[in-house]
Symmetry: C2
């Protein structure tokens, strides 16, 4: 089911956003080809991309231009025997219209746009010829960690009962709320711990939004954030401590910048293109063709990078 | 299947060892009763226990005295409607003869003795009336963590491929080798990482056996060991770092003293006594009575403490 990266063409929708550049760079580094056209918001239509990546024409989603260029791109890929995959890091309101656009043009898509209607988006591939990977978090490693902890909570509820749970995280100062990853991890840890209210546990998360504390690692409770990453980082420490304080389990995941997400997107593109090339084979137990995937599917396919 | 702790009588074999005292204290704190007799090695026979616990007569394993006192204890428990559970923290060479002793007297037993012939010991409960929990590590939380990582390695091999794995641990200076827990965890992490030789990865574990480094937490790589716990601690940090160094996942488990093991033993005693009181019910899918358990079974029964 593996495909040569050179047989994959990427339409990077969401440029000139930061994730757009990071994903484009990651895909190019893997040997995929970047299409010379991409969907963008009305404010950016007509702009050109900068020198980090080959020039891409940005056309407004929903415009006549978008339809024409999309149809031409899909036809060219078909003619050249390439698999076309659109990556979508756009806006909550654009995601569903974009999914319908991908359906009209038979474009496979990898969607990391958050805050959108995942159910409606999933339905756009039902009974279609194309497929999609849709996931709110594109880091393979973070998704694996979340999945492992969810399973642990199912297998061993209360294994850490009587323990004290404490969570501290640091993000760039602009981030107001607690991260989605932290919420998901805390939900699992509450199950492993004494049970009770996840909302309360999430509310109790200590949020660091202060450069000095981020730099010094909150006196050892967090990893130390490098100065260059103060504007974009996600550091988390979860600690479970026994009632008599003799035992501590600690989990830390510290992310600087966007590369882990962009690498996960590149993996998802290769995974999806492989499925498309194989005609979306029937799943072993399900018996029917699967067209809708998430990052767990990408992970389960085994090591790809 | 839960049993009132006051209906459980504990024969603490392995006194006057440190684990013997810790387990006896933990069981008493939970409301179980300590029998006034226990098996010990030839060197300690006839000695009395100290004031931490009610007085226990120590009789040499394999002696006529041991047979007489064991038979009397088992008969008394039966008469009183109590469930008798022997705890075994003895010596590799004593474990199997002890298991045969438990079989002769129909004593359920929880065995944490390491380095013994687990298969032969397991067979002593086959077709018997009594049951056993046998496990080389009695900490519920450590066993849960190991099991979770084993499952993760099966579900997501290579999810962290391309990452760099580094492991550092600190133990009391007297401990020469790498801990069994560290070896098991490293084996799972190697699978999650790029695969390859577990032996090599275990050999690469950085072992701290130096008070100063233990106290200062190896400059942040480890938790800081309290001075009082230098003679007995087990601190571990496992780190997976992405090739571009932007992402780090870290797992730490830091144990001071023996209480987490003793608490796990107390849980195992209550679990086993509950099974015994219920007549070792037939397992749902297995269809036959189970008499041999490990800590995963104790954990799966759910929160007990």
């Amino acid at each position: 089911m593996s495909i040569a990266p050179s047989d994959v063409v990427i339409m990077m929708n969401g440029l000139p956003g930061k994730m757009g550049y990071s994903c484009a760079e990651a895909c190019i580094a893997r040997g995929m080809t970047l299409a010379d056209v991409a969907l963008t918001g009305a404010d950016f239509a007509g702009q050109a991309t900068d020198s980090r990546i080959p020039k891409v024409d940005l056309v407004a989603g929903g415009s006549e231009d978008a339809e024409k260029r999309g149809a031409a791109l899909a036809a060219q890929c078909k003619k050249d025997g390439k698999v076309l995959v659109a990556i979508d890091f756009t806006a909550p309101g654009a995601a569903l219209p974009n999914a319908e656009y991908y359906a009209r043009h038979g474009m496979n898509f990898v969607m990391g746009t958050t805050g959108c209607d995942y159910e409606a988006i999933g339905k756009t591939v039902t009974g279609a010829k194309h497929g999609a990977v849709v996931a709110p978090n594109m880091s393979k490693q973070i998704v694996a960690m979340q999945s492992v902890l969810e399973q642990a909570a199912k297998d061993f509820p209360g294994a850490f009962s009587g323990y004290d749970l404490s969570v501290i995280e640091s993000h760039q100062k602009a981030k107001v709320d607690t991260s989605g990853t932290a919420k998901a991890v805390v939900a699992s840890l509450v199950e492993l711990n004494t049970g009770g209210s996840v909302d309360k546990a999430v509310a109790a998360v200590e949020k660091v939004r202060n450069d000095e504390t981020s730099l010094n690692g909150a006196d050892g409770k967090l990893g130390k954030v490098p100065a260059a990453d103060l504007p974009g980082h996600a550091y988390h420490t979860y600690a479970l401590t026994s009632a008599d304080a003799t035992v501590t389990f600690e989990l830390r995941h510290n992310v600087n910048g966007r590369s882990t997400y962009a690498e996960g997107v590149a993996d998802a593109c290769l995974f999806l293109a492989g499925k498309a090339q194989a005609g979306f084979p029937r799943a072993k137990f399900l018996g029917r063709r699967r067209r809708l995937f998430d990052m767990i599917d990408v992970l389960s396919e085994g090591a790809m990078s």
